[in-house]
């Protein structure tokens, strides 16, 4: 087992035993389902909207080269500097270079999942800069030196009490059990950071090829402030975030809001098309867009699973996933959690190291059913299993399945097997749930089904 796989198993074992944690996540996500269903019902046709969204993203991803060229050309025409990074190291280097060139020190960040992917904060801190996350949830997990628990709701695993304790410890504020007061504490601390920061770093939800804009979706206004006050704005964007046309947003903005958080529209949906333009009151002097590959082209090359690049990171698949609901976001040990994470992480970080995520699924398909851009998520998990096994079969599984195939193809042997099972199960209680029980993975928590006194085929025989 790879280190990532054994860590995952360890985490899953501990977290599924934590009933308080399980209840917390389920309660939080139950609220999500209610509001999402309400907003879905307001669409005249949600299923057709999904199909249209899937088709638009299909076009974007399957003509990614031309769209990216157009996107960059349009951005550059309005004074934006576009950078291309093949991998995480290059992206970090580009961003640090921009900051150093400016002789800047303090950085305010709005939520950047690609930043988590390339471990940007660590790199910036190591380079001697001060970095502050401005999204409330991200700010909280940054204070805890933790990764986001959910890529839409980063601090979903914490109670107000835990957050109050954290703020008391880190910021010296008085304890409170009011979410509003806690939010206002963060507001006060961060206001000053927006004004004094030299650099604002953001992500991008969409890149509009036709007009050369990035689009950022947020509720708090922290990205608006991050991109308004500092002199330099750097946006880090995965190359797959492209949408061909500006009006595509008319579909994607409400769908992202609905699928992501059960909103009609997210609080602020903002398109940035350049640095401050002549005649404008404010805005950064310089705007940099860093385009990140980091193995996305690897996923693109897998035509079967290419639609995973349609993902708009709404988090909907996490919210309905029974695995996520029982183990939570930190168990995965990956930047992108839940079903979409289980699909893309093996492509981004290595199939053999991360294949366990594709096996850690009951293949229930709730993710595929909910995905607003119709990514065939649970079937991709099956394909990843097939690919991983074709590359490297498990030494004992291969002969086992070969033997089973032989058994299944010889009904006489199968009947004999059932008869032996009937004898075996008389003695099985002697070893049940012990170290030598061959089916202990089952019997540790469950009783074993019994071979019936009369199997179906035996019953059928008696009728003749």
């Amino acid at each position: 087992m790879t280190p990532a796989a054994s860590q995952f198993k360890k985490n899953a074992t501990a977290l599924t035993a934590d009933l308080r944690h399980r209840a917390l996540i389920r309660t939080a996500l139950k609220k999500y389902e209610v509001v999402r269903d309400d907003k879905v019902s307001r669409f005249q046709n949600w299923q057709s909207a999904r199909q249209s969204a899937a088709e638009i993203k299909w076009d974007a991803v399957n003509h990614l080269d031309t769209h990216l060229v157009e996107f960059a050309r349009n951005l550059e025409a309005r004074g934006t500097q576009v950078h291309w990074a093949s991998n995480a190291a290059q992206a970090r280097e580009i961003i640090i270079g921009i900051i150093q060139e400016r002789k800047a020190h303090s950085i305010i960040k709005s939520k950047v999942m690609t930043g988590e992917e390339i471990h940007l904060n660590d790199a910036l801190e190591k380079a001697g800069f001060e970095v502050v996350e401005s999204d409330l949830g991200e700010y909280i997990v940054q204070l805890r030196h933790e990764a986001p628990y959910h890529f839409v709701f980063p601090a979903m695993h914490l109670t107000r009490g835990e957050i109050s304790d954290l703020f008391s410890k880190e910021l010296g504020t008085a304890p409170t059990d009011s979410p509003e007061e806690l939010t206002m504490i963060a507001r006060r601390v961060l206001r000053d950071k927006y004004i004094t920061a030299d650099i604002g770093i953001s992500g991008a939800n969409f890149g509009i090829a036709e007009t050369g804009m990035i689009s950022i979706t947020e509720n708090e206004g922290n990205a608006r402030l991050t991109c308004a006050l500092p002199k330099v704005h750097i946006a880090l964007m995965g190359i797959e975030k492209i949408l061909p046309k500006l009006e595509d947003l008319a579909l994607f903005l409400p769908m992202l809001a609905t699928a992501g958080a059960g909103q009609v529209m997210t609080g602020y949906n903002t398109m940035y098309g350049g640095p401050r333009q002549p005649g404008e009151a404010d805005g950064p002097e310089a705007f940099h867009v860093v385009l990140l590959d980091n193995n996305r082209t690897q996923l693109l090359a897998d035509a079967e699973q290419r639609d995973a690049l349609h993902c708009i990171r709404c988090g909907g698949c996490l919210n309905v996933c029974p695995i996520y609901k029982n183990i939570g976001g930190h168990a995965y040990g990956a930047t992108y959690q839940g079903p979409i994470g289980a699909v893309i992480t093996p492509h981004l970080r290595g199939l053999q190291q991360w294949k366990h995520l594709s096996f850690a699924s009951s293949l229930c398909g709730a993710c595929t059913q909910t995905c607003p851009v119709k990514i065939d998520l649970h079937h991709h998990l099956l394909q990843s299993r097939r690919n991983a096994i074709a590359q490297k079969p498990v030494w004992w599984e291969k002969p086992l399945f070969q033997a089973l195939a032989f058994l299944f193809n010889h009904a006489g042997l199968f009947s004999l097997g059932m008869k032996l099972g009937r004898i075996g199960q008389v003695f099985h209680p002697l070893i049940k749930n012990t170290g030598i029980d061959p089916v202990r993975a089952w019997t540790r928590s469950r009783e074993l089904p019994k071979v019936a006194p009369q199997t179906f085929r035996e019953w059928w025989q008696t009728r003749k």
């Binding site: 005249q44 290059q90 004004i195 009609v264 609080g267 009151a281 385009l291």
Partner: protein, 235 residues
Amino acid sequence: MVANPKMNERENILGRIREALSLPAPIPGAHHGEPSHPVSECDAAAHIPEWLPRVGVTFEEQIALFRTNATELKADFLLLDSQEELVAKLREIAAAEGWKKVATHSHELTDDACAALGLPMVRTDNGYEARDMESCDVGISACDALIAQTGSVLVTSQSAGGRALSVLPPHHVVLARREQLIADLPSAFALLKTKYASGYPSLISFITGPSRTGDIERILVLGAHGPKKLTILCV
């Protein structure tokens, strides 16, 4: 000659993309056996208005929908009959909230209304100090449109006094004309394309309710970083 490394990465990435795309991908919905057509022949965008939430055709229906959405978003929306009424309403809010300093920008709707308040003003038109704006009680701006379908206010860095005015002060007051009410999101993008044909502003923003967060126990709190209050006065 030394190759420009930046240029190389661009070509490397585009090269990898082109190579990857040499294999065609199954089209959306194919695995469900749904009737499908080649995506190149589809015009998904043309149908968007038919899928989105329904909007009535008359002004009355649209204003009622905007009002319902605004209420749900915890924004204040008032439809007023005249410029005088608008000025009076603004003065009433200023008195009730005890405004001492106002941030705004020059616009036919904001000029008279703000002057009538008789309060110190920060105008963004010729630049401003961020701390100065931060100390204002309210940001008063015009907008490009009100969108009935979603209860959103459409602003740009050109129409609404720059980037910070609508998010830095704790209260954002939007002044709009009833002709600015439009039906849905597709109309909003059509409007942007026509209005800014000669060049888009560097920022376009759909503001939907006051700033909000649910990051603590998924409980709604207003005023996370941007304004705690959003008031839309439509005349």
